[in-house]
């Protein structure tokens, strides 16, 4: 029996985090009832994409960076395009920009549908994984997969295929989809929008731990629309910068335990990007359909409970379906499908909203368009310090739980932010037992 005034030291350790992208682990040390250290460790081998980009032509950046992630290739392509176009002094707007936004909506739909149904919802329904959830509520999982397919269809129709789209180029697209092909997206998106309303209602009914974070939110903001594919960088404390300014402010440091860089604002403050940040800064811009459904789901203008990020993600899923449908119905095939982007010596920055947060890229080009320097700041490295803060808070406020339950709660705290630790190659890691 433990003396109540001197609780024992506890160590919680998860060597292989489940239901996150890539490989990570977490370690928590508790000494005498106080959380002493929290470490989210990322041990994916570093992928030298920034070095790989050096010496390549400016037109190659979207295709190379798309390989970084199988879940958010469009985010990588779009930030790369914006940064290269910025360096070359070209602004893409009109029908090409609208088509980019539609493609990006496809990625949001498939990524959010996947995270909500297969990765996050099991946490709230005492299910080990989506297979257990399928046994409990097959219709919910089927509904999620159907929505995800609608997102995949948007991506394959515009991008040429659902994973790593090939139709994106600096300046726009290689080929504009035929209006008839875009029109065919209407029915699946209408069904996905209806289904997303049901998803929002479903997740709003989950039980959420009563935890709130004192977050410093950072997200893109656009004056006239919910920012996805462009905008200035805004923050909950009055931040208002273009991508170049933000690139200066977000300082990355290398931490021994992780192969991902950690970002701090001005080298000091941890911050959070992603659905909670976007919601806090931009939800007033959403259409009535989404705002009304979100209000019915209990979402106020700001949500600081990271566990309720699933509700915010569901509201964004509904928005992405609705917005994609609007863009389908107003589609004007861009002609030409891309602007010419001749190289120009200089530096350019581009920031867009990946499903899991702000993604910044910077390129330095020489006069012939060769990339001399590249910098990629993905959402997960920006969120990592805040995720660790969340873990500290969650552990401190749930010390009464058993080690097993507390460990489970910690894993949930990580999954709340949908971290994307690596890109994926699909070989089987196979161990054969031989007698």
């Amino acid at each position: 029996m433990t003396s109540p005034d001197k609780p024992p030291s506890r160590t919680l350790s998860v060597e292989g985090l489940a239901r996150v992208e890539g490989e990570g682990s977490l370690h928590v040390e508790i000494r005498h009832g106080t959380v002493e250290s929290v470490a989210l460790e990322i041990f994916e081998p570093p992928r030298f994409f920034e070095a790989l980009l050096r010496g390549r032509r400016h037109t190659e950046a979207p295709d190379i960076t798309a390989r970084i992630c199988g879940i958010c290739p469009v985010a990588y392509q779009m930030s790369a395009c914006l940064a290269i176009e910025d360096a070359c002094g070209v602004t893409v707007d009109g029908p090409v920009a609208a088509l980019r936004r539609l493609l990006y909506c496809g990625e949001w739909i498939q990524s959010h549908a996947l995270h909500i149904h297969l990765l996050h919802a099991p946490d709230f329904l005492a299910c080990e994984d989506a297979v257990a959830l399928a046994a409990l509520d097959a219709n919910a999982v089927k509904r999620g997969l159907e929505i995800k397919r609608a997102g995949n269809l948007v991506m394959s129709t515009i991008g040429g295929r659902a994973i790593h789209p090939v139709n994106v180029k600096v300046g726009g697209f290689y080929k504009a989809p035929e209006p008839a092909a875009i029109a065919e997206l209407g029915d699946p998106l209408r069904r996905a929008r209806d289904a997303s309303l049901a998803v929002l209602e479903w997740v709003a009914g989950f039980d959420f731990p009563d935890v709130e974070g004192d977050y410093r939110f950072v997200a893109l903001h656009h004056p006239t629309r919910y920012a996805i594919e462009d905008g200035r960088v805004a923050g909950s404390e009055g931040l208002d910068l273009d991508a170049a300014g933000f690139a200066q402010l977000a300082v990355e440091e290398h931490v021994k335990r992780s192969t991902a860089l950690h970002s701090r604002l001005d080298g000091e403050a941890a911050y959070l990007t992603g659905p909670l940040a976007r919601w806090a800064l931009n939800s007033a811009q959403l259409p009535d359909l989404v705002r009304d459904a979100a209000a019915a789901a209990g979402l106020g203008p700001t949500c600081r409970n990271p566990f309720r990020s699933i509700v915010v993600r569901a509201a964004e899923l509904l928005f992405a379906c609705d917005e994609a449908l609007r863009l389908v119905e107003t589609y004007d095939a861009p002609a030409p499908p891309a602007l010419d982007v001749p190289p120009l010596e200089g530096t350019g920055h581009g920031a867009t909203e990946a499903p899991r947060g702000l993604l910044l890229q910077t390129y330095e080009l020489d006069a012939s368009g060769i990339i001399r320097r590249a910098r990629i700041v993905p959402p997960t490295s920006q969120n990592q310090l805040t995720i660790e803060d969340d873990l500290r808070r969650v552990v401190q406020s749930h010390l009464d739980l058993s080690d097993e339950d507390l460990t489970w709660r910690c894993e949930q705290a990580v999954r709340n932010h949908d971290p994307c630790i690596s890109c994926a190659a699909h070989f089987l890691d196979l161990t054969v037992e031989r007698n």
Partner: protein
């Protein structure tokens, strides 16, 4: 009505030997049009919805088992202890790299739980050597594609004896 057969290469043709599965699947479909190639499958979850109505699905995936490159084998995902056999969220062992932890075995388990899986699923593995960025197969893997194609055809022909 004859039962339908689908084949799918799992993997990316742009990740060197990870493209072994798609290479085998397209070769099978070229030899035997009755076997519909529904790949390449970069994300195993995409199998759901694509293989609907199939009596038999033959999936071909690159493996990393420590066997010599090019080794072709039939994989029982329920028993082999594969990294991809961790469901959609169980404790993923080192090396499980499928997108968001939903590996091939996880996708199959999920499809079965949803009663949306073909009654018979066969997984053929072809041992890869290099999985970096780029196109093309290693010589040993390329040399084994024909053997893998024959193995897949033998399964297809059980369902389509006259094909």
């Amino acid at each position: 009505m004859r039962p339908s057969v689908v084949v799918a290469g799992v993997g990316s043709p742009y990740r060197l030997d990870d493209g072994a599965g798609p290479a085998v699947a397209s070769a099978v479909a070229a030899r035997l049009p009755a076997a519909v190639d529904i790949g390449p499958i970069a994300e195993p979850l995409d199998l759901l919805g694509r293989w609907d109505g199939a009596e038999l699905a033959v999936l071909v995936d690159a493996t990393r088992s420590g066997s010599p490159p090019g080794t072709v084998q039939i994989i029982d995902l329920d028993r082999s202890g594969t990294g991809a056999g961790t469901g959609t969220g169980g404790r993923a062992p080192s090396g499980t790299t499928s997108t968001h932890g939903v590996g091939l075995a996880g996708a199959i388990r999920l499809a079965r739980a949803l009663e949306e899986a073909p009654p018979r699923i066969v997984v053929v593995g072809i041992e890869g050597e290099r999985f970096g960025d780029g196109e093309g197969l290693s010589p040993a893997v390329r040399a084994s594609v024909a053997e893998a194609v024959r193995l897949v055809l033998s399964f297809v022909e059980e369902v389509h004896p006259c094909a």
